[in-house]
Subunit: 301 residues, 2 copies
């Protein structure tokens, strides 16, 4: 089924212990859409500036991603500059230039109004809510958010949370949002705010899915080297929502599979700068890593 | 099959956000033996002082643990004082009084010389090596160690590592020992030092077993509250080695089950101060939590 993503498209400048890149294609909608495109047909609502060239649109076209909802406006594209040091678990933001993203108002092309699955990337909550309300035929909506909105716009965020089915969030944010340290308690608090399913991402330690029926935990795929963590969370979301949209199945068993695909895609994302690795995949790579996680976690009852 | 443990018996004074206790029974051999006693017959080699009363020996007897190897000598029993604050992932040692433990020389009763499984708790490496060498009929030996020996006695530690089958170690220690940050690389380096199996414990995030054939990861059981983390690692080891000794089976599939039992027993250990929860178990509690971890990790291929 069709999957619509709203979020940011950015140019990232990144320093890691393994190298540096400048102004490479990034942003939550980019990582999400490129990842999800391996599972289902994806369309994107986002904004870019005049500096967003045909070679950048070409990345989306190459993955058959529908970019009719990517508005190009006067000004410069959103830019983020950050670095990873030490154990690379945490990005340190060095500079953020919102540019055209500052006045972003998502416009949904009529062709997208029948979308069945929606992912609300990490943007200001009131815009997430507007997009959610504009789509009447959804089977399921997933969303992301961040500390900045949790602390700065709690009421607006609560209004969006009340309308979604799935929240994908990292463990620090889950604790901040719920005011609970232990993740099981944190998830229970968040489920009362709206989302039936809460996926708490724990970086290299994997993720835990809290559903109405059960709890499921998937490990991180044990990479020998994390090259660039940027986009790992959005790629997790892309694999997760992509599998749900592909199957249209919201059963407990299928949500578990979706979480495994999330972990698989997050692990590919961090193997190279930007979306490099995510563009060079084959479906067999994805299935092989899925089976590896099965082997990694399987034991006899 | 019979399981012999060598390690410390201590009186612990502990401060946590949930309460305080003074001079309660603890130590690596205590947590290990009480835990492993749910799986197989266990004997202990350790040392205690004159202040170690019959009520303390009674704890071991209650679990049918053979204490003929627990030597009682003039002086006071080893004491440790520590506290847990914040996320409780790290113990802060406030005071250590080695007392009789300072001059501990493990003496192995003749009746123990046919032991088939051995666990070398975290004591000075040269003593670990002496115990290992004194036992000619072992099927498998597991060991623990710590930063203090890794940094202070690397050659002695290497000599022990070369003689054991399994190293159980936490992630910080694994990195220190291997000089590798990523755990997969760390385990590969450690395997070259001797142990075929390396179990890297990651606290609430569970543990990963690196074997010659495969990698297996088990999550931490999702407790709503960790009451006192003291002894969690030794209880993990007790469940792990206990299951191996009970079955006598060193296959890949059985090592995986052992790691799950390790996670199960570690989760019970932290629910109360000291060995309180570990004494009040029933076999059905252990099997129920084992099945819960199966449910927590199962997904369809």
């Amino acid at each position: 089924m069709s999957l619509l993503a709203v979020g940011s498209i950015a140019f990232d400048t990144i320093h890691t212990p393994y190298g540096d890149v400048e102004d490479i294609l990034g942003g939550s909608a980019t990582f999400f859409a490129v990842t999800a495109s391996w599972f289902t047909s994806v369309s994107v609502v986002a904004v870019v500036g005049e500096d967003f060239g045909d070679q950048h649109f070409q990345v989306f076209r190459e993955r058959s991603i529908d970019t009719r909802g990517v508005e190009q406006v006067p000004g410069r594209t959103f830019r983020w500059k950050g670095e990873y040091v030490g154990d690379m678990n945490q990005a340190h933001t060095l500079d953020t230039q919102l540019n055209v993203f500052e006045s972003f108002v998502p416009k949904i092309p009529p062709a997208y109004l029948n979308s069945k699955f929606l992912f609300l990337g990490n943007i200001v909550p009131v815009l997430q809510l507007n997009v959610r309300r504009a789509l009447p035929h959804l089977h399921a909506t997933g969303m992301d958010t961040m500390n900045y909105w949790i602390q700065g716009m709690p009421e607006e965020l609560a209004a969006v949370l009340a309308t979604v089915d799935i929240l994908l969030i990292n463990e620090g944010e889950a604790r901040l949002l719920s005011k609970q340290h232990h993740l099981k308690k944190a998830a229970a608090v968040i489920q009362k705010l709206g989302p039936r399913f809460v996926v708490i991402k724990r970086g290299e330690h994997g993720a835990t899915l809290f559903g109405p029926e059960s709890i499921f935990t998937v490990p991180g795929y044990p990479l020998e080297q994390v090259f660039d963590p940027t986009g790992a969370g959005d790629s997790f979301a892309g694999g997760f929502m992509g599998h749900l949209a592909r199957t249209g199945d919201l059963s407990d068993a299928n949500l578990r599979r979706a979480a495994v695909y999330g972990s698989v895609m997050g692990s590919f994302a961090v193997e190279e700068f930007g979306v490099g690795r995510l563009l060079r995949l084959a479906p067999s790579d994805i299935e092989a890593r899925y089976r590896e996680i099965k082997m990694l976690t399987h034991f006899d009852a």
